[in-house]
Each structure stands twice: as C-alpha cells, then as structure tokens.
Assembly symmetry: D3
Homo-oligomer: 67 residues x 6
C-alpha cells in the first residue's frame, strides 16, 4: 500500500518512465517485503513553465543548458 | 481547511468526478464538523502511461482488462 | 487505484478520522465504480504550528477562536 | 532541499506563475537560510472541472463569479 | 530534480527505508539519466489510524493480519 | 484556493516556519491576486531518517556537514 508520487518535469519518453516505475516497484518489493500489486506509482508531470529550481524556471534551465 | 488531493488515472467523466468531489465534501462536513467552504479538493489526473500498479502501467492494465 | 491524500491540522479523534475515510471510500465506490479495496487514503496530519491560512498559523487561529 | 508543491486551478499566466515561484524561492532562502538552488517548486495545475471548493466545481465558481 | 513523495504506513525499520530510498535513487539515475544529487525523496509516514484501504483502517488491517 | 504543501526535513524553529509561510502567503497574494484567506499552506515535516538526497539520508548529510 505504499503510494508513490513523482513530481517530474515534462520531456521523458514512455520507455524511460515505465523503466523507472518498474525499478521503483522492485525497490519497494525488495526492501519492504510488499507484493508488487500493493505498490501504486503516479507521475505528476509538469510543463517546464510550471517548475522552478534555483530561481530559474525549467524553461530557462533548458535554454541555459543548450548554450 | 482540510485539503484533499486525489491521484487518479485519466478516463472518468466530469459527472463522475463532480459526484465524487461532492460526496467527499459531505464526508468532511459530516465527520469533521467543518463547513463545506473549508473543504478544497483537487484531482491530479495522470495519463495511463504515467501510472503503474503491480508493475504494470495503466496502459497495460487497460489492455489486459479488454481481453 | 485512486489514492487520496488529506492534509489535515492535528486535533481530530480517531472516530472522526475513521468515519471520514469510510465515507470517502464510499464516495469513490459509488461515483467511480471502483471496488473499496482499490481505494487508499492517507491523512498527513500537521501540528498547528506547521499550517497557515490567511496569514495566520493554526496556533493563532485556534487562540483567536477561543476568544 | 525543501520541495514545494502548489495545487492550482488552471488560468494563470506564465508571468504570474514565474513571479510567484521566484518570490516563494526568496521566502525560503530568507527564512530557512537555504540556497536558492536547494529550492524546488512544482505547480500541479488542474483544469477547472478537476477542482472543488465549498461543494462547487471551479467551473461553477467561475460561472458564478461572472454573474 | 524529480521529487518523490512516499505515503507509507508507520512500522518499517530505518534500514528498510534507507535501502528503499537508495534503490529508488538508482532507479531514477539509471532510467532518467539524472545525477543522484538531483533526486530528493521524502517519506510521509502515517500512524496506522491515519490510513485506510478497502474501508479498513491500517489498525484494523494489522489486527486482522494477526488472526 | 491555491494549496501549498512543503516537504521539509525536521529541525527548523517555529519562527523560521511561520516567517516562511507568511512570505509565501504574500507571494501568492501579490502575484496571483488572491486574498490571503484563500491561501492554505501545510508543512509535511519528515524526521531526518525519512528523507534522502543524492543517495544520502538526511541523518548522513547532517553528520557529514558537522565534519
């Protein structure tokens, strides 16, 4: 019954997100001894203008990373 | 002032969601003795590829449910 | 699989919280057509100094309500 | 390392959201003594039909506000 | 910058929780290509009376599991 | 009606937390044009063993910072 919420900037592929959620499911099964069926994960994906770190929006961070 | 966040896979109708939020508002008014105006509910809706249970994405779960 | 998180100021009885969570479970079963077993609810309870509304902490709001 | 999640009804401009996140970053730097780079903020924006207060959806609240 | 929040019933050891968070960090590094330092995880632990699944509080579920 | 949730490691004083929540309230009033009364903030405080960044628990980070 652990419920995992992931706040994530938009831009990852379905494969990346699926692989991440599968490995997280395993992390809980292995360490907490719960069944996989008890593990629920939701990604709350934010467009880059809806997220900020260090006073820069993720739009600004992405632009700076391209320079 | 209780704030309720609902992580939900996409796919429900507006009527279903409104009915659910109305009944949840009543649940808090009845049990906690707060006014309806103090109750705020937000649904964070995830596309099926952004949610996993039991090691299956909700895309996979929906496909398996159709078989 | 809807997961409900309730941000709540400390101070309610176990009976109030259980009654609220039971009625919320019913709200989802009735409106979304999920089974009760698919509904997971967690209350994240905050001490009154860790919560603010209208620029007043819940410590200040409780004191004002007693006057 | 404080992580801030903001549940917000859709409808604000990018400028409003950026200004809000910048001021929130400053609020944490000033009061907690953390660096700006340690502060991560995500806005989880909900369409008006996915949010309710006082038993009214934000669609209904917006319509009432126009009258 | 992915931020992970885990809603968890109280009762796990520090070793279980640390092992889980380490494996989750690796899951994000491996699948999203972020550095470990970008990954922040917080467990919001709830006492058993503050959590419900299937209409049973986790106090009731723990008692039923002992029978 | 914006609802703000802050995931924070334990250890700050009530004054720091109150000052932070007051400034955040102002950030929303100023940038979104809402009234202070519409702004609800909850701090979900985690003990240091329930939080990890960069693969280190906050217990380990605090110990490393003291060296």
């Amino acid at each position: 019954m652990p419920e995992i919420t992931i706040n994530l900037a938009a831009g990852r592929t379905d494969e990346q997100k699926k692989g991440m959620m599968l490995d997280i499911t395993q992390a809980l099964v292995k360490n907490l001894g719960v069944t996989a069926d008890a593990v629920v994960i939701q990604i709350n994906e934010a467009p880059l203008n809806n997220k900020m770190k260090g006073g820069q929006t993720f739009v600004e961070r992405a632009a700076a990373a391209k320079k």
